[in-house]
Amino acid sequence: MTDNLPVLTTHGIYMAFGGVNVLKDIDFEIYPGEIHGLVGENGAGKSTLLKNIAGVHVPKAGEIRLNGKVVQVPNPHAATDLQIALIHQEPLTFPDLDVAENIFIGRQPMSSGLSRLDWATMYSRSAEILNSLGVKLDPRAKVRGLSIADQQMVEMAGALSQDAKILLMDEPTAALTPSEVKDLFAIMRLLRDRGTAIVFISHRLEEVFEICDRITVLRDGELIDQRIVGEVSVDEIIQMMVGRPLSTLFEKGDTEEFGEPVLEVEGLMRTLKFENITFNIRAGEIVGMAGLIGAGRTDVARALFGTLEIDSGTIRIDGQRVEIGRPRDALKHGIIYVPEDRKQNGLLMPMSVIKNMTLAVLERLSRNGWLRESLEEEAAQEYVKKLNIVLRDPSQPVRELSGGNQQKVVLSRWLMTKPKVMLLDEPTRGIDIGAKAEVHRLMSELAAQGIAILMISSELPEILAMSDRIIVMREGRISGRFDKDEATAESVIAAAAGQFLQEG
């Protein structure tokens, strides 16, 4: 921290997507030589703010000042010229080009005389930059095949090659292992000590408190407060982020008796993805699956649904061994999968609510091979009522529904198949608090009807509130198992981050 002037300030930034304000009157400032944490719930506007500063989006109103002077940042190129660099959550790299070119792309050094690209200089300068970051990477190596962490280093080196004075980092740690995070932090501190201003977005508050000098909290597009680390507690920050007391989450009640195991998984293995995955889910039970992003949870779910081939291991449904090679097999055995990304994997956005809901049960709604629209509508109406879906008309496109209601449409589709096992991948990601509670209530009801539920979630409060049992995955292995009453936030985080290995 320094007491000199801010290197960059924003004044009254407004930004809207499709008429909805996602940033409202943001006055934000960053000082040279500080690491500034930017926190808030999903959809609070953190990424949008960084993208406004970096020229990816242009604000609807407001101004950005660099060293006190108003600047225009109409595109990413302009940001580069102003020595502002944005490090994206998913590294923006060119897999077929080598490390050096990824660092210098668009600004490759040219040799004088017969003006041509100077590869020798490019390699030697890349090596210098990587060295100064303490990164052991060969400038001549192709980027394809590098780990996410290494690709991030390549992007950071790119920022340094253009003497970035302001480094905006959008969830750089989301896909890193703990040891990679440690290395990244070392480099961030190094850059800070050289006078670089760094903005750091992370959902992991412990990281923010570890690395940052100051913290800014955003909520629903508004800047709530700016505080100095050391003068604020984690609880206070969380309070500011959610804007309400913590205990409003829906909590699944205790179930006295579970039925027989419906799904039993033993020794599931897939090279480089996961290994030795053994667990079961009983009828009426919700098993929460916790872990960091990239721990292999989604891959396990995909394997159970038949979209990822397994190398070995057995899957049993109601005690019978089953082979699941493709989603058809899974559906036949009553396993359904609700993917994390509704838009990409779940919903057909331009199609109607009815069509989206009945997709998996068309056979049942047909007579003599012809689809009966009246039956479709009836079925859809039933679930609209049952799940309390807010809409104008069941024949309106799903696209027009809110995130929470879209999620209920996906759920309806699968519920129509009368499943035995539901694999829910981040069931409440990106939907608002009210809808969240409703999805949770619905999950409890489904469990009460005897469905076995696997809930993958990266949100700890959700895991703790909704699970009867908790499985934690870390780097492709199960690293912890907890019953509802023995699980604490600390123990689950520890297992996910690998501080204390406990095999259950």
């Binding site: 990413p76 190129h77 923006l92 897999p95 668009g106 490759q108 990164v135 095949g145 780990s147």
Partner: protein, 342 residues
Amino acid sequence: MATTSDTLQRQRSSDIAVRLARFRELGIVVFLIAVLGMTIAFQPDFLLKPINIRSILLWIPLLTVVAMGEMMVIITRGIDVSIGSMLAFAGIVVGMIFRDVPGFNIYLGALIGILLGALLGAVNGGLIAWLKIPPIITTLGTLSVYRGLVFIVSEGRQIDPNHVPTALIRWSQRGPFGIQWVPYVVLIAVVVAFLAYAFLRYTKGGRSIYAIGGNPEAARLRGVPVETTTFSVYLITGALCGLAGILYASRFGFVNPGETGVGFELTVIAAVVVGGTNVFGGSGSVLGVFLGCLLLGTINVALAVLGVASTWQLAVYGFVILLAVTVDAVIRRELRRATTGE
């Protein structure tokens, strides 16, 4: 970081990737030798007859010149199927000039051909780069528009051998220093290939082509001029087709509106893909594509020498494309599995 063990493992896998990529060009050479071997088994003096060598050498220039442009297009994740029509248009217009203006300078004629091709290519590029019309749709459209123009401009009449300047025809018959079996057209193709190499390797524009194909979104965010570069590759391809139109007149001595360049896109795309260019964009090399052209040329001449009917050629090209793409897809899938487990 590069110190953790799983990263090391991944880097080792990427070494395998690099080795396989090299193997790719070697693979073409192996395939080439296999084709030659098979042919020699039936015709022991295949390579000893200068006429066969000459046939192969004469077969490649047209292909190589256009393939260099098509390769750049495919690296940017695009495709240009209008090349045959652009070639014919430049060939027919320049041929008409030669016919109607006796004694017209052939170098000036070649320049006009190149410029005409560039113009047609620029139309493709403009539609694709700025109006964002998918390349396959755009060039399918211009494939027939340009072919239509060829008929309209020529009124359906062929440019006959007696209208093609003798000096131009000599480009395909004589070489420098009196070396007969390496005609000038072959040298032109080699120069084009060399320029393509220099452009792709030593200019920002050339590198941008790879960047756009590798990750278009990243290219935009990193300030690579995506539209201009996309436009340029189609323009370059058009210009090269223009040059190829002249080479066609030189090689065959005629330009026929209904025949010249018809189906040429298939051969060119075959050469580019067989040469190891990734059909999904991002990678491709001049050497590989040159070898691809040589391989197709050899297959072509070998089929003729072995007495296989020319009606089989089309099927053989199609088969070779599928084979190359399949081999590529299998290698890539295995590679992906080895590096990411996906």
